[in-house]
Symmetry: C2
Subunit: 147 residues, 2 copies
DNA sequence: TTTTAATCAGATTAATTTATCTGAATAATA
DNA sequence: TATTATTCAGATAAATTAATCTGATTAAAA
């Protein structure tokens, strides 16, 4: 069950949030991320590869290699990850699936949805990964507990 | 590109909105709905069949048969269609895909998303099809114009 | 230098969602 | 009664998304 993002994007967001909790200079292998987040290793690896191509994440090959953020957590916003994986069409499409939904040709819920969409966009744009760090750590620790 | 509902659900919502614009006693064939909304006939037919099973829509077989609302437009809310097709898990799932997201174990955007989710739910619950009638007619007429 | 553990790339498979097809049953109407 | 246009049911196909596999390359460390 996905809410508004694809699984790929959800996992990407989780993984990047996880990387943002690492101490300065540390990196995490796909195996570690997979284990900590309970998501398929090969899949998260593939997703991080694609983020690497877009410079949001960096990687080092070989023994003791892994993934780490491409720039400081204080300079990355969630929307960048969404854009890189799912794109931003979400913020431009009619929630009822009508074609050409716009202020000129609004669907029946156009105005109401418009406000929600703006808030959602804002949620992903207002803060950086740095801001989410504490909450991320708390959440991820709990995932561990369940296993 | 789908925003929060599946294509099936988007088409279902559109079709039911369309049925709500019909004059008293009229019904619409799958072919008519397909043509007016520019959506695949077989697919919308299948979706309406499933809504028929849930009594939201009624159908009549044979020549000049078709689909019509199962109860007055003033008694149907959009959320009923969503529930019948996609279910309501959407309103209970973590937007970042974390497991067991709750006030006790919140994900980093839990609170912000919670508000959005409530507004979205409200958008689908507050008004009946009757309320959307005018807007629906305006929107559907425009789809016709484009063809 | 050898071993080991990692990323990377690309192919493949699996699962899910979306869409179409076919044939039977039904009912209005000519 | 014959014709026609429809729903209905179920099978199938196509497309998309999610997940896995394999082999090559890389680099740290023994």
């Amino acid at each position: 069950m996905t809410v508004i993002f694809s699984k790929k994007c959800e996992y990407g967001l989780q993984a990047v949030l996880y990387l943002s909790t690492l101490d300065e200079g540390r990196m995490a292998s796909a195996e570690e991320i997979s284990r900590k987040l309970s998501i398929p290793k090969e899949f998260v690896s593939k997703i991080l590869q694609s983020l690497t191509a877009k410079k949001l994440v960096k990687s080092r090959k070989g023994n003791s290699g892994g993934f780490y953020l491409g720039k400081p957590a204080s300079k990355i916003k969630l929307i960048e990850i969404v854009d890189a994986i799912d794109g931003l069409a979400l913020f431009n499409s009619c929630v009822l699936g009508f074609p050409d939904c716009s202020p000129d040709e609004p669907c029946p819920v156009h105005n109401k949805w418009g406000k929600l969409r703006s808030s959602a966009y804002e949620m992903l744009t207002a803060e950086t990964l740095e801001h989410f760090k504490k909450k991320t750590i708390a959440k991820i620790n709990r995932i561990g507990k369940k296993k």
